[in-house]
Assembly symmetry: C2
Homo-oligomer: 396 residues x 2
């Protein structure tokens, strides 16, 4: 065999998602693109804010000397400082640029954090459901993902997480607002989680780090607030990106921000910066660093996502779907009307509707609808969702 044995395994395992993409392409060819309702991808459909587009054009045109040159692996000073100011305000913590590493998106941030922290065999605890990529990222750096179920409405089960924290536990990874549920973990649950992590860390003689993956922090509805992880716990790191709030996922620009109160802060920053270099990122793309350094608090028009959520939620409720209305992100995660959600995903496909089975997120019995699509895709799909529900009930 040419390739690494593990990669062969991953490719074969991953082929279900590939098959779904191929299925989408096949359906579009038969029925036309406007007759296929693809809710499978979290690819923001809103354009970046006008101020972002203007700033990008201005930076590119100004053609400043050194704009495309190598820089310190942690990023440009001005970008680190701007991020520290914004993230510090978000979290109610005094952050300095020295505590920030600019990264190739949140996925880049998570990879450097795991590389910096994990010794072989270390465990990363994650509440379910969770973004499937986490398992690969832990494995990249010799770690193992340990999923722990959540409570009703996908709230943190702090007792279960505490019970799961053993001597090998190095990281608790949370994602709030959550992909795929859109739920936000409450401040009260974070406070209890912090206590449990402190207690267990002391018992095990080893700090446990809270890593908060939060690219949807600004995609929230009805005045919802995302509680601060940095304020809740000293050994905490935020991993995030501008992919969702500026609709820039292809540009790979995000950051890791470390709590200034974290243990061994100097070593931790040194390890993150070294990891950014040796994993091959070297630095986050320089032009886009210049752009986001001056972007302030710009954000896409979140009311448009809210309208999509409400349009979809109302239609699904009428057809009898069971789900909690999410206060953030751009996903719904309804219960499958059939016990095996793979079967229901097939029924939806008969209606040219593409969604992702909950098993892909460690939560069988549910499915994910990414509603970051044109309103007319939602409107066009609702009759199909209704027919699919009837079919599922008829099949009993």
């Amino acid at each position: 065999m040419a390739i690494a044995a593990k990669m062969k395994l991953f490719i074969d395992k991953g082929s279900m998602i590939r098959k779904m993409f191929e299925e989408g392409a096949r359906l579009r060819k038969i029925y036309g693109a406007d007759k296929v309702y693809d809710f499978s991808l979290g690819n923001p459909n809103l354009p970046p804010p006008a101020s972002l587009r203007e700033r990008l054009a201005a930076v590119a045109k100004a053609d400043e000397s050194g704009l495309h040159a190598y820089m310190p692996n942690a990023g440009l000073d001005e970008t680190r400082a701007a991020i520290a100011a914004r993230a510090g305000a978000d979290h109610g913590v005094a952050l300095a640029g020295e505590q920030v590493v600019v990264t190739c998106g949140a996925a880049g941030a998570l990879n450097i954090i795991f590389k910096a922290l994990l010794d072989p065999g270390d465990e990363v605890i994650v509440p379910t459901p969770y973004f499937v990529e986490y398992g690969f990222i832990a494995d990249n750096h010799g770690g193992a993902l340990k999923p722990v179920p959540t409570l009703a409405d996908f709230a943190l089960d702090v007792g279960a997480i505490e019970a799961a924290m053993g001597p090998k536990t190095k990281i608790v990874l949370i994602n709030s607002p959550n992909n795929p549920t859109g739920q936000i973990y409450s401040a009260e649950s974070l406070a209890r989680l912090a206590e449990a992590m402190t207690r267990r860390g002391r018992e095990n003689g080893r700090d446990i780090y809270l890593v908060s993956d939060e690219p949807y922090r600004r995609i929230v509805y009805g005045g919802a607030q995302v509680p601060s992880t940095l304020a809740a716990y000293a050994n905490s790191i935020v991993a995030t990106s501008y992919s969702k709030d500026l609709s820039l996922p292809g540009e790979r620009i995000g950051y890791a921000a470390v709590n200034p109160a974290a243990a061994d802060l100097g070593d931790l920053m040194g390890a993150l910066i070294l990891a950014n270099r040796i994993l091959g990122f070297v630095n986050a793309p320089s032009l886009m660093q210049k752009v986001v350094a001056g972007i302030g608090n710009a954000c896409v028009d979140v009311s448009l996502y809210q309208r999509k959520r409400d349009l979809l939620a109302e239609g699904l409720r009428k057809s009898g779907y069971d789900f909690a209305l999410p206060p953030g992100a751009f996903y719904l995660f309804p219960k499958s009307p059939t016990p095996d959600e793979g079967r229901f995903v097939e029924i939806l496909k008969e209606e040219n509707i593409l969604v992702v089975p909950g098993s892909g997120f460690g939560s069988p019995g549910y499915f994910r609808i990414a509603y970051c699509v044109d309103d007319k895709v939602i409107e066009g799909a609702l009759p199909g969702f209704e027919r699919a529900m009837k079919k599922a009930k008829a099949a009993g």
Copy 2:
């Protein structure tokens, strides 16, 4: 300890280079920036070609829909096709876009190639001297670097490489034009290397891959040609970037191009694309992909680097330095006049001249001068180089 044990080790090991940066900053503060001659970094000082800057401004201004969106992990179709045409012409091999993965620079390309190919404990053979980063990249993915010395003038010692290829050997990694020597491996030596790799691969019952890191392919002088690795050997992969030929190192745009004749081509491409995703790159930055897709054969003005090389070489020869005039890249790699080159690097530092000891490239007894700097830095440093040589000789 907070961070992973291995990262702690790497940080402590790497601190010599950090100390050099700090030393440079310290010297600049004392003597002024124009009195410090920093040849330590391979950061291209030429601006990107005018056509690149124009195209970037145009793409940014056009603000095409979907410009910043997620895309297939392998890159934009148009970018892959443009790269295949350019790399195919460079290598005299018919390449299609399907054999290309657009990456975050050559370092990103090497990381996904090693991730795709290496099983735990596999060996990567590299001729010395070599870019220090290779050791980290092999280690990231469970592999081990096995350096093999070169011959006079740093030509490939194919016999030594063949002797070093054992049952654990999965990759032979070459870098031509070479960092730090600027030498180009001859077509004849590549042909013999290919024979040796085929022979050993057959004996070991396991294909050995030739990985060619070649970001300096277009930075060559006096009509020098860089022989094709893809034409020489079927199981071959090019890892490269636009960092040097377009002076864009901060933008992180490069690619991996796989020989269409490689064994298990489908699996190999699948593994590279999956690795690009799960290592957190996801895709190379989208805006810059659009830019390089239309850049044709643009290149920085190489004659300016040649002038720098000749200016430096002539001055050093007059002062009695011993080196082979390199036909490519922007480095000189002279012999140290003292047996311990660390000592001579210190003597140069007394002249406010910063260079990198050869030990950092696996070749003690030499030192690297990166001459991608302003002409006046070279001119200003020559008297210091002369005095340092006299001091070294006087010290005997």
